[in-house]
């Protein structure tokens, strides 16, 4: 016999044991030696994923739809393989930013947005309510069944049962008490609950052991092993269908959609986020947990199908609910102990889920919905209250009770519409709406608050319309008509066949449309909106979390002053005196900050305090709280400009550096080039000097050694000696002139000069040179004198240079040189044209450079000193003119210069160089 009293007594003992574990866990946590800090406990706590839905519902699902129940567990396994990429990053971000819930996470990512946090909270609460009602249903059903022991009657819920006589209502109240005691026991309002996690891990063990025990019993004691069950299933027409997926078009898409949903659920269900992310003690635990947790899932699913088959074979069409086969099979075989174990296991699964889920939801309700609203009501003067942790705890307890009562209400009014499994999937579809803004948000900086808000609202609206509303309609709360014909008879808007899409089942249909809307709105909203400065910072901090760890200062965009005592007392109100002192001392030690100062402008410190606070009340609320104490100077246009300027300065500076380097390099090159030219010049000059000197010496030696030489010969030799000496003199004069010009020591004597005279003078000075080569030179002059201000001697020198240059490149006998002077109202143009060998284009560019020498193709060596043209150009430039050359190889060259009438002023007698 199994008396109801026994059941209740055992249950109470079990719950007492859980409390003991939780208490012990909290104590150990306080003393610093955590019992949950190992990957095995962590993996077991993740198994809070397996609720009463898994425990009882999987069998029911397998009995009605075959392999489809497995999708709920394959998804998490696939997600675990992405643990390194996604989970680790989410955990790291949450640790750095002291995230307390999924609403906090999404709100923080998009600029600590209160609106987003609130929206996420509302979606989570509405989405999870059906799921909670499912647990209530499971517990009350199992209790009602075990209550009848040993008789087995199908349960029937009498229509219109009063709330006060409904077991489920009392179950809800009991669970509310449990959850309040477990989750909000501590007066300290912090995000972590080590004792709770320890208890959850134990519950995971219990439900696994219970399931395996029944599975082994059913498979090997009631039946003759797996093979026997397999044979019997093959023999039955009804059971044969359950071995495969149905052969219709929708089967595989449903399969894939459900795997996708469960992948999302393992991260985004508030309770999963709580145990996996918030309660995570050490990131490295993920390494082991990513394979331990899927292993747990395999284990708990091993006997689902055997139990389902055994149940169907044993009970046939007795009307017993397949969802409860796990309990009814041991009952039918009079196994008292096993029955009790299953009941406890089922209770573990349901209570574990309800406790963690309501704690997570109440944290969200408190931190992301109620607190921000209260803090924004100045009339409450909440920021000035001294005992805030009391308020926090009250809000959280109310939150837990609210969620459970809502769960009960849903069960009471609408719970019968969906089967166990469908209800769970409805919740999965709701939390999957968080996926785009969270998953894309941690990899893509461009995602903005507007995008996230639009995406969430769009996806959630579709979920609400295609899954939640129909359940209310099915329960008769709104007209049924709406399901069959669409609202107002618009067939295109039928909630299960939106826009005529009728190839999917309800869940897949809702997932498709809601995710499509969610992702599209998220991307479009992000691309067409501008993020604020804070959003920018937060986005970078989240996406590049690995890069910023260790030097976290997301406060570079913050300016303000705060009184340290104000900040400290605010922190004490939430964290308690001891923890506040410890936290601040740590920070002061690490960053060398004077704790005694009363006024702080240190953004790092304020930021640190905000984070500490965020751990207790969430990022959005913490920001509001800190802002109430800190005199924050909004980031003015000046600060922004300062920040921009700093960056710009750095860029400009580096550009300048680059340019300076380039200039230096160029200067260096020029110096080297000049050095080379100078060397060449010296060798050229010495060569030029030596040639005539050699000639002179040898001729002089002949005259000296052979006095008998004929007088004609002597005359001839003397002539050569004179000519060569003249050449030497000219060379030396040029070098000296050039030197003077270079050093800027040439004396310019400026006076009124007649250019006609200058030209005539120059022609006569070079007459001898021209005559020697038998070249015809003609002078074309205007009639009137052309007067300008200038240095007569230098101008003559310039003309002599040009003419002797022309002579040098003209062929003897056939050479012709034309010297021209033309005048107009602006100035005079002088040109010297020859019909010599001409100058190549490449040479034209360089001929005016110092030391540049055009190679004489005939002689194979430079034809001059390389100074003549350079000197000439300097002279012309000094007279504000410009010397140019026009030439073609083989067709002669024309050098010309233009001198303006208004060139030099009359008194410009100076020593400057050109």
């Amino acid at each position: 016999m199994l008396a109801t009293e026994t059941v209740i007594f055992v249950s109470l003992c079990y719950i007492g044991a859980l409390f003991a574990i939780a208490y012990y866990g909290d104590k150990r946590a306080d003393s610093g030696s955590s019992i949950i800090s190992n990957p095995y406990i962590y993996a077991l706590s993740l198994a809070v994923y397996c609720t009463a839905w898994t425990f009882y519902g999987s069998v029911g699902r397998a009995a009605s739809a075959g392999p489809a129940f497995l999708t709920i567990y394959l998804g998490p396994t696939l997600m675990a393989t992405l643990g390194w990429l996604i989970l680790k990053k989410v955990v790291r971000i949450s640790k750095v930013h002291r995230i307390t819930s999924i609403a906090d996470f999404i709100g923080s990512r998009y600029g600590k947005s209160m609106t987003l946090g609130g929206v996420v909270t509302v979606i989570a609460v509405l989405g999870i309510i059906p799921y909670i009602s499912l647990q209530l249903k499971a517990i009350s059903s199992s209790f009602l069944l075990i209550h009848q022991y040993p008789s087995l009657e199908p349960l029937s819920y009498p229509a219109g049962i009063g709330i006060w006589s409904d077991t489920t209502f009392y179950v809800a109240l009991l669970l509310a008490v449990f959850a309040t005691l477990f989750g909000t026991r501590n007066l300290e309002a912090t995000e972590r609950h080590e004792g709770l996690v320890a208890a959850i891990a134990l519950e995971s063990m219990v439900k696994l052991v219970a399931f395996l025990a029944v599975g082994i019993f059913v498979t090997f004691f009631i039946c003759d092993g797996l093979a026997d069950l397999g044979e019997r299933a093959m023999a039955s027409v009804e059971l044969r269908q359950l071995l495969t997926l149905p052969e219709n078009t929708g089967a595989y898409s449903s399969w894939a959609a459900h795997i996708f949903l469960s992948m999302m659920a393992i991260v985004f269900l508030p309770r999963q986020f709580q145990v996996m992310v918030v309660e995570n003690v050490n990131e490295t635990h993920l390494n082991k947990a990513i394979w331990l947790f899927p292993l747990y899932l395999v284990a708990i699913n091993l006997f689902v199908l055997p139990v389902a088959f055994a149940g169907m074979l044993s009970f046939g069409h007795s009307g017993l609910d397949a969802d409860m086969f796990l309990l009814t099979l041991p009952m039918a075989n009079k196994q008292v102990f096993l029955t009790l174990l299953v009941f406890i296991g089922g209770m573990s699964a349901a209570t574990g889920m309800v406790i963690v889920e309501t704690v997570a939801l109440s944290t969200m309700i408190c931190n992301d919905l109620v607190m921000p609203l209260l803090l924004h009501m100045p009339s409450l003067k909440l920021a000035q209250r001294s005992d805030l942790s009391g308020i926090l705890l009250t809000i959280r307890r109310m939150g837990i009770i609210f969620v459970l009562l809502m769960g009960y209400a849903y069960f009471h009014y609408a719970g019968e519409y969906y089967t166990l499994v469908s209800i769970g999937l409805v919740s999965f579809a709701a939390v999957a709406q968080f996926a785009p803004s969270l998953l894309i948000g941690i990899f893509w900086k461009r995602g903005t608050r507007t995008g996230a808000l639009l995406g969430l609202l769009a996806g959630f609206s579709i979920w609400f319309y295609t899954l939640f509303l129909p359940s209310l309609a099915g329960a008769g709360l709104i007209p049924q008509d709406f399901l069959e014909h669409g609202p107002f008879g618009i067939a295109l808007l039928k909630p299960f066949e939106l826009f005529g899409l009728d190839v999917f089942d309800h869940i897949t249909h809702a997932v498709f449309w809601s995710m499509l809307a969610n992702v599209s709105f998220y991307l479009a909203g992000s691309l067409f909106s501008r993020p604020s400065a804070l959003e920018h910072t937060q986005a970078a901090m989240f996406v590049d979390v690995y890069r910023y760890v260790g030097r976290v200062h997301d406060s570079s965009l913050w300016r303000g002053t705060a009184y340290l005592p104000d900040l400290v007392s605010m922190l004490e109100r939430f964290l308690g005196k001891e923890r506040t002192e410890a936290a601040l001392d740590n920070y002061a030690m690490a960053y060398g900050i004077n704790r005694d100062q009363s006024l702080t402008r240190d953004p790092g410190l304020v930021n640190h305090i905000e984070k500490l606070l965020a751990g207790a009340i969430g990022a959005a609320s913490a920001r509001v709280m800190v802002a109430s104490v800190v005199k924050e100077e909004p980031l003015g246009i000046d600060e922004v400009m300062d920040i921009l300027n700093e960056t710009r300065q750095a860029i400009i500076y580096s550009h300048e550096l680059e340019r300076a380097t380039a200039e230096l390099r160029a200067a260096n090159q020029r110096l080297q080039e000049l050095d080379r030219l100078k060397d060449e010049f010296i060798s050229t000059v010495s060569h030029e000097l030596r040639t005539p000197l050699t000639a002179i010496r040898s001729l002089a030696e002949i005259l000296h050694d052979y006095p008998e030489t004929t007088p004609e010969r002597q005359q001839e030799f003397a002539g050569i000696i004179i000519r060569e000496t003249r050449r030497l003199t000219r060379l030396i004069t040029q070098v000296l002139d050039f030197q003077k010009m270079e050093m800027g020591r040439l004396r310019w004597t400026i006076a009124s000069v007649d250019l006609k005279e200058v030209l005539e003078e120059a022609v006569s000075a070079t007459g001898q040179l021209v005559a020697e080569k038998n070249i015809r030179m003609r002078l074309h002059l205007p009639d009137a004198p052309q007067r300008i201000y200038g240095d007569r001697d230098q101008l003559i020198q310039a003309m002599v240079n040009l003419i002797s240059n022309a002579v040098k490149f003209c062929q003897p006998e056939t050479g012709r040189i034309d010297v021209r002077l033309a005048a107009d109202e602006k100035g005079a143009t002088v040109s010297v044209a020859d019909n010599g060998i001409g100058i190549s284009e490449a040479d034209q560019r360089h001929i005016f450079d110092r030391f540049h020498q055009v190679m004489d193709p005939a002689r194979g060596r430079p034809a001059g000193t390389g100074l003549g043209l350079s000197i000439t150009r300097r002279i012309i430039r000094h007279h504000k003119g410009e010397l140019t050359v026009k030439s073609q190889l083989g067709k002669g060259a024309t050098f010309s210069f233009f001198l303006p009438w208004k060139g030099l002023p009359a008194s410009a007698t100076d020593e400057t160089s050109g």
Binding site: N38, T81, L85, A227, G230, A233, T244, A256, I290
Partner: protein, 74 residues
């Protein structure tokens, strides 16, 4: 860090493999009402792939933790 990146890459590969093996059309090949070693073929296939993926995850994460420094808090 390189060990981490290597492991991450391998796990992503494992994820893609899992997506492939758990879905149409490979799933279709095993969608037959038959028994293999007394176990329905589809279930046998799914559990086998499932365990294989877990085994690979174990190998990859072990390989990684061998190569990097021992965990401090364990």
């Amino acid at each position: 860090m390189t060990g981490d990146k290597l492991a991450a890459g391998r796990l992503i590969g494992l994820f893609l493999l899992g997506v492939l093996l758990f879905n149409f059309p490979l799933l279709y090949l095993f969608n037959r009402p038959a028994l293999y070693l007394g176990i329905p073929v589809l279930y046998f296939y799914l559990f086998a792939v499932w365990l294989m993926i877990i085994f690979f995850m174990l190998l990859i994460s072990r390989y990684k933790s061998d190569k990097s420094l021992p965990d401090k808090n364990e």
